[in-house]
């Protein structure tokens, strides 16, 4: 189950962070997302990979914590998407697919002329869409 998704701007400022748990653990998830930014930075700044993976936006598993797995995705505008999940065996393809849809939703949200770049995304449509994507992620991985 996805417990948290986040959009983080290129100055590491949170643009959108949404948890999908019932418990009051927003703070914890914030910490996890915040912490994972270091790993993203590290991956971006040390491009050991070359060739075909150079333009890869999907960063893969950032780091596993005790209960969560954190995946990252970096758009070409240096906006980071972070996904925190409790599923322990997640197929990479599922995550990639999730991020692709999430990216599309994000692009649509920031294309709104009333959206101020660099400010938090407040669009309700975006929130709805993200929660749909998150729900469908759970379903598709279950199948």
């Amino acid at each position: 189950m996805i417990v948290c998704v986040a959009v983080v701007g290129h100055q590491n400022n949170p643009l959108y962070i949404q948890s999908f748990t019932d418990a009051d653990d927003a703070l914890k998830l914030h910490h996890i997302v915040h912490c994972s930014l270091d790993v993203v930075d590290e991956r971006v700044n040390n491009p050991k990979k070359s060739g075909p993976t150079l333009n890869e936006t999907f960063l893969g598993l950032l780091y596993p914590t005790e209960n969560y797995k954190v995946y990252g995705y970096l758009t070409n505008t240096k906006v980071k998407f972070i996904l925190v999940t409790t599923d322990l065996d997640v197929r990479d393809a599922d995550v990639r697919n999730f991020f692709r849809r999430f990216h599309a939703a994000y692009v649509d949200a920031v294309s709104n002329p009333f959206h101020v770049p660099g400010k938090k995304i407040t669009s309700r449509t975006f929130a709805d869409r993200v929660s749909t994507i998150v729900k469908s992620f759970g379903l598709s991985s279950a199948v």
Binding site: N12, N13, P14, L27, H31, H34, C35, S36, D38
Partner: protein, 1284 residues
């Protein structure tokens, strides 16, 4: 690459992995030593570390090398055992607590900055106690049974010279039951090097006895192993040691001074020599020898292919038998233990090659034996040895990891070992700059012990900070984790420290949730330590966090207030964010020469008032500002500041916003102001007592009741709902002269939190920028005032001005002017922006009853009223010269109000007045009043005029009235015509069309009147044509109410304005005034008992579309004539009137053909003036006739028929067929006409035309008027009968 021995890890290993010397001593030895405040071991320990020795050593394979540094450790036999875990933990806890106290940040110190941290060197950032702690942690593991480097190498037996039978004592000392368990249970070889030491206390006497004993000892134990040590040679105990070598044993500075006070330098040197000899002559050679021995043993049993194979075989067989968790028990005599000892000794003597080969040899054995703990220990040592050899780094790390994992697998029992292994591993990684990896190891070290975990996490966080590039997010995260762990262990100070560091990461980012949490916890923890001041500063950070949930906000606020309450004092918080002040909403309203009757008036743009007052204020017309004129009196410095008057309030409007979702209540909001004496006055009147001394001081006087205070400030209390914004009006009233500066605003959040907000800091920049653009100062942003002496200030209001009324409402209002001061004001002037709606009346109207005073009087003194009105047509109303408002009196002045048009009307009224000899700075002031009123549509009145065809100068007037209100019922009263000399009269009595004389809501009324030109001979009246009236009473019959005089002051004035607004005035027009009354109005009326009067002015009902020439033909209508005798001649008379102002020439043409009749009918019907070229009417074709017949009305049809029937008999115009004449302006002329009729019948005498031509006189002839035209004749029917 640096020498591994010089790295932190290398140093630590060289220091920690050293031979242990077991000390056994008698109580008397201790007693002697305790005189110095030291135990025996303590006394010797500082001298066991040799950095400057040179001992030749040979390796097992006879390679010579030299040891330059050496150290051994002294322990009492009783201490040589594994420390109690609980005790160890307690000690570590103390270490941490102490470090917490020492490292606790200063209250005043600022929060650390990330960039600041990054720029500093590593050693400055890392708390020093980490090293110490780590060392202590490692030490808790000493003397474990699976490692040999803590096994004693030698034994030092010490006996005092005072002891009885010292030789026996020596033997007793090394008694097995006193020896540590390690030696007894077989883990250690009990056959160790023994050294015998006799201690002599010089205070007990001379050393002869001791020397004698020494010889005795030498003979017993061997000459080399016995030594004598003389101590306490100082008799007085006053020896001071500059740098006490023992300082590390005692923490308190006072005690260190007395340490070793009986020890002279000689004694110290003796000890030093003794220890050096012990190490170089006994311990090192012994170890070297032992290594050699062991090596021989090992190589004989284990080295070589055969031995290895045998060993393997043997172990395989053993595998099944032993299955304990810790693997088999190895005694010192077992080959495994011997190999381990060999390795450890080699390590200690820095023969790392031998060490590593030994370790590797047994690691496989242990693995096969499943002796995991030993295996891990050996792996650990392999790793360290590789490190010291500085080769195969990968291997070293792999070994460390292997060891670490193995320890971890073994569970909590060997957690400490895992920790130690981890720490060494970390040091290894750090040495190789793999700091990030080190951090992860720190993280893995964290076990069940919260306190240790906390320290490890903190160290991990520093690793992240120091890694290149720094990983700040993880730094912050680990700090927070560490802080939480500390908190759980009640190490609050540590928790605060870590959190404070974490703040540096999160501050300034938008991760508010985290930042708030961090601040909140710091605040709480500080509070729990009783440091409320700091707690409050942290709590303030989160007070206005609007993004938090409602419950969090409540929690934050409650805790904050709770903490503040605990401090027991009042906090003044600058820039308190609760509530938020909207600085852009700041508006300052003050009154200099401009005073305002109401706040609404003050909010009107200055430009509106300026343009209104333009021709009233003298100085403006003189092109010099009053400030310029008085510039000498005002200090140059304050020229740009505003002027206000003592005793008059300055109003400041400011918006407060509650950022939270919970309601908050704000108490006693007031301004902070400074009032200082005018600097020039200070200089000039330094001696005078006028200037109160307290004025110089910064002042925040809060008590409004304090009369002596030079400032009066208003206080406001209010409460804000969640997210609410409120506009608060604050006032400050200076009471004395000086310079007043509004500094800011302050408020109380609770009883003990005072929020401050400085305006100046925000607005300064703005003001400078504006000041450059505009020379003029902006009153709203200028917060500095020169307070001048108290001046009279008029207060004015119009009591009964309605807010809402119907169009046409005519009222009598009173302007009240009030002078509160002691000085009279004079020379009053007034200007009203909309005289159409409001204008000033004559003072004589003041006490008259309202509707009655408008009624027509018999002897109307029109001239005086009118004269006054004339004056008022000017813009400014001057009050009579003799009018002045005396001290503390009021002046009432009548005003007339007329709601001329429906809509919203803004009234701006300025009253100008002058003061006498009060202030040199201000000579005059203006009072500005502003009213808004709403005028609803009431009656829609329109008039239509049509000339009467058969009468000269008579018109038919149709009046259409529609009541557009929804509920009101108007009673119609009067219709008056104004202009020229017109008489209005009813065509039919009103009763027939409107019996009630009332117009109900929505009702429409059409009414016909006859309007007649009323000629008057008197020329004097003609000179004033506008103000003549004729009235028709429309009221109920029998109503004796007087008619209203539309020609006297108020009505006439308003009528003038109406004329002005409704269009250009030109001659030949007529104006009407329609007056109704409203008995019971729903509308707000100032005087509810009186009927309201409504007047509707309709001006310029134009007559100009009619020809200026009107005429009628007069003559007999029916005659009898005997045609048999002669044709009949008929005399007619035509009267022509020229109603224009120009002389006109008229040309009358008669046609003999009757065929133009249809056209003449047409002309009659539509008043058409036909163009000249269509005049050949008699050639008209019948087809035209036919169409006309069809379309014209019934009467016309009949006429046409009759005419066409009788078309054959003719009449002819006799006399001149064309007459030309000139008619003077406004004159009439009569022309005789004659026709001759030849047969009886009915004749239409319309076949003539009038051509008129206006003489182009004076310039002002309206272009709209026609200068020429042609009119067809009217039908005039003449019946001629045959007389009998």
């Amino acid at each position: 690459m640096v020498d591994p021995a010089n790295t932190p890890l290398g140093k630590m290993l060289v220091e920690e992995i050293t031979p242990v010397v077991m000390v056994l001593c008698t109580p008397l030895v201790e007693e002697s030593c305790l005189k110095n405040g030291l135990s025996f071991v303590q006394m010797l320990s500082p001298f066991c570390d040799f950095t400057n020795i040179d001992v030749p050593v040979r390796t097992a394979s006879d390679q010579p090398y030299r040891l330059r540094k050496f150290k051994f450790r002294l322990f009492y036999a009783s201490d040589i055992r594994q420390p109690n875990l609980e005790v160890a933990k307690e000690r570590l806890k103390q270490v941490i607590t102490k470090a917490g106290e020492d490292d606790f940040p200063e209250i005043s110190s600022d929060l650390p900055q990330v960039n600041d941290l990054l720029s500093r060197h590593e050693s400055e950032i890392l708390p020093t106690w980490f090293q110490f702690f780590n060392k202590e942690l490692v030490r808790t593991l000493s003397f474990s049974d699976h490692e040999a480097f803590d096994h004693p190498v030698a034994c030092l037996l010490v006996v005092s010279s005072r002891d009885e039978e010292p030789i026996n004592r020596f033997i007793d000392l090394f008694n097995t039951n006193k020896l540590p368990s390690l030696l007894n249970d077989g883990a250690m070889d009990p056959k160790i090097l023994k050294h015998y030491l006799l201690v002599h206390d010089n205070q007990d006497g001379a050393s002869e006895k001791a020397i004698k004993l020494l010889t005795e000892m030498r003979s017993t134990f061997g000459p080399n192993d016995c030594q004598l040590l003389c101590i306490n040679s100082s008799q007085d105990g006053q020896t001071r040691h500059k740098e006490t070598p023992w300082a590390t044993f005692r923490s308190d500075a006072l005690a260190t001074e007395h340490l070793g006070r009986f020890l002279r330098l000689d004694d110290l040197n003796e000890i030093k020599n003794l220890m050096q000899e012990l190490s170089s002559k006994h311990i090192i050679p012994y170890m070297e020898q032992k290594i050699r021995l062991l090596n021989q043993q090992v190589s004989s049993t284990r080295k070589g292919f055969r031995n290895q194979f045998k060993n393997l075989w043997w172990r395989k067989g053993k595998e099944d038998a032993l299955d304990t968790t810790n693997g088999p028990v190895y005694t010192f005599s077992s080959i495994e233990s011997q190999i381990r000892v060999l390795g450890d000794y080699a390590f200690i003597l820095r023969d790392y090659e031998l060490a590593v080969s030994s370790y590797r040899l047994i690691s496989t054995d242990y693995k096969l034996d499943k002796a995991w703990k030993r295996y891990a220990g050996v792996q650990e040592m392999i790793g360290l040895t590789y490190f010291m050899l500085d080769q195969s780094r990968k291997e070293a790390e792999y070994c460390m990891e292997n060891a670490f994992n193995t320890y971890l697998k073994l569970g909590s029992a060997v957690q400490q070992n895992a920790t130690r292994c981890g720490l060494w591993w970390i040091e290894m990684l750090k040495t190789r700059n793999q700091i990030k990896e080190a951090a992860t190891v720190y993280f893995r070290i964290c076990g069940e012990d919260l306190l240790h975990s906390a320290v490890m996490l903190e160290q991990a966080s520093f690793c992240y900070l120091l890694s290149k590039p720094p990983m700040l997010h993880k730094y912050g995260f680990h700090l927070v984790l560490s802080g939480d762990h500390y908190k759980k262990c009640d190490q609050i100070k540590h928790a605060i420290r870590t959190y404070r560091n974490a703040v540096s990461v999160y501050r300034g980012t938008t991760w508010n949730l985290i930042e708030d949490r961090v601040h909140f916890h710091i605040g709480q923890w500080y509070a729990s330590l009783g440091m409320y001041d700091v707690a409050v500063t942290h709590m303030l950070e989160i007070l206005a966090s609007s993004h938090q949930s409602k419950t969090s906000q409540e929690l934050f606020l409650r805790d904050f207030l709770h903490i503040v309450q605990k401090t027991g004092k009042t906090f003044e918080v600058s820039k308190l964010q609760l509530p938020v002040i909207n600085i852009s909403s700041l508006k300052v309203i003050f009154e200099d020469h401009r005073t305002y009757a109401s706040p609404v008036a003050a909010s009107i743009k200055e430009g509106v008032w300026r343009s209104l007052e333009e021709d009233m204020i003298p100085s403006l017309s003189a092109k010099s500002n009053w400030l310029d004129v008085q510039s000498k009196l005002i200090p140059r410095k304050y020229k740009e500041s505003n002027i206000c008057v003592a005793g008059e309030a300055i109003i400041v409007d400011i918006e407060f916003k509650n950022p939270l979702q919970i309601p908050i209540s704000i108490l006693s909001v007031s301004l902070i102001c400074e009032l200082s004496a005018n600097p020039e006055e200070l200089n000039s009147e330094a001696n005078s007592s006028n200037v109160e001394p307290q004025d110089d001081e910064y002042k925040t006087s809060t008590s409004t009741g304090d009369i002596n205070s030079s400032l009066v400030l208003s206080e406001v209390d209010f409460s804000l709902e969640g997210g609410e914004t409120i506009l608060v009006q604050l006032t400050v009233t200076p009471r004395v002269e000086g310079i007043l500066t509004i500094v800011g605003v302050k408020w109380k959040l609770s009883s003990s939190v005072v929020g401050l907000h400085n305006f100046e800091s925000n607005s300064v920049n703005k003001r400078i920028a504006k000041g450059r653009r505009k020379a003029k100062h902006l009153p709203s942003s200028d917060l500095k005032f020169i307070v001048i002496k108290s001046l009279p200030r008029l207060q004015g209001f119009i009591p009964s001005l309605p807010e809402k009324t119907y169009a046409g409402d005519l009222r009598h209002l009173v302007l009240e002017l009030n002078n509160q001061s002691k000085f009279p004001v004079k020379n009053l002037k007034m200007k009203i922006n909309n005289p159409r709606v409001l204008n000033a009346g004559n003072q004589s109207y003041l006490n008259l009853e309202f509707p009655a005073c408008l009624e027509k009087k018999l002897n109307v003194e029109q001239s005086s009223g009118h004269g006054n009105a004339k004056k008022m047509l000017q813009n400014v109303f001057h009050f009579p010269e003799d009018i002045s408002v005396q001290e503390e009196t009021s002046l009432s002045w009548p005003l007339w109000f007329h709601a001329a048009v429906p809509g919203n009307i803004s009234l701006y009224i300025t009253v100008y007045y002058e003061m006498e000899n009060v202030s040199s700075i201000m000579k005059f002031r203006t009072l500005r009043m502003h009213y808004n009123l709403q005028v609803l549509p009431s009656l829609d009145v329109s008039f239509e005029l049509s000339p009467c065809p058969s009468r000269l100068e008579e018109f038919l007037l149709r009046m259409d009235v529609v009541n557009k209100t929804s509920s009101e019922c108007f009673q119609i009263h009067q219709l008056s015509s104004v202009g020229r000399q017109w008489d209005v009269s009813l065509l039919q009595p009103l009763d027939s069309i409107l019996p009630s004389q009332s117009l109900f809501a929505g009702q429409a009324l059409s009414c016909f009147f006859m309007l007649k030109y009323h000629r008057k001979s008197s020329t004097s009246e003609d000179s004033n044509p506008l103000f003549l009236q004729s009235d028709v009473r429309l009221g109920p019959p029998g109503n004796s109410e007087a008619l209203f005089d539309v020609c006297s002051s108020p009505l006439a004035d308003f009528h003038d304005y109406e004329r002005l607004y409704q269009g250009m005035s030109c001659q030949g027009n007529v104006d009407f005034v329609f007056i109704t009354q409203l008995r019971r109005g729903n509308i707000d009326s100032g005087a509810p008992h009186r009927p309201l009067l409504f007047s509707y002015h309709v001006c310029h009902c134009s007559l100009s579309s009619f020809s200026p020439i009107s005429w009628f033909v007069d003559g007999p209508r029916s005659i009898q004539h005997n045609f048999s005798a002669s044709p009949c001649g008929v005399n007619l008379k035509m009267t022509i009137n020229n109603s224009s102002d120009a002389a006109s020439s008229v040309h009358i043409k008669t046609f003999d053909s009757p065929s133009s009749n249809s056209q003449s009918i047409d002309a009659t019907a539509s008043q058409l003036v036909l163009p000249l070229e269509n005049q050949a009417g008699w050639f008209s074709i019948s087809a035209v006739n036919d169409t006309k017949v069809i379309t014209t009305d019934a009467l016309a049809k009949r006429i046409t028929k009759s005419v066409s029937l009788e078309s054959a008999p003719q009449f002819i115009w006799t006399g001149s067929s064309s007459t030309k004449l000139k008619i003077q302006p406004r004159a009439t002329a009569e022309i005789p006409l004659q026709i001759c009729v030849f047969a009886p019948g009915m004749y239409d005498l319309s076949n003539y035309a009038l051509n008129w031509n206006l003489a182009p006189i004076e310039e002002s002839q309206g272009e709209a008027n026609k200068s020429s035209g042609e009119c067809q004749g009217y039908p005039y029917y003449l019946t001629v009968l045959q007389s009998i």
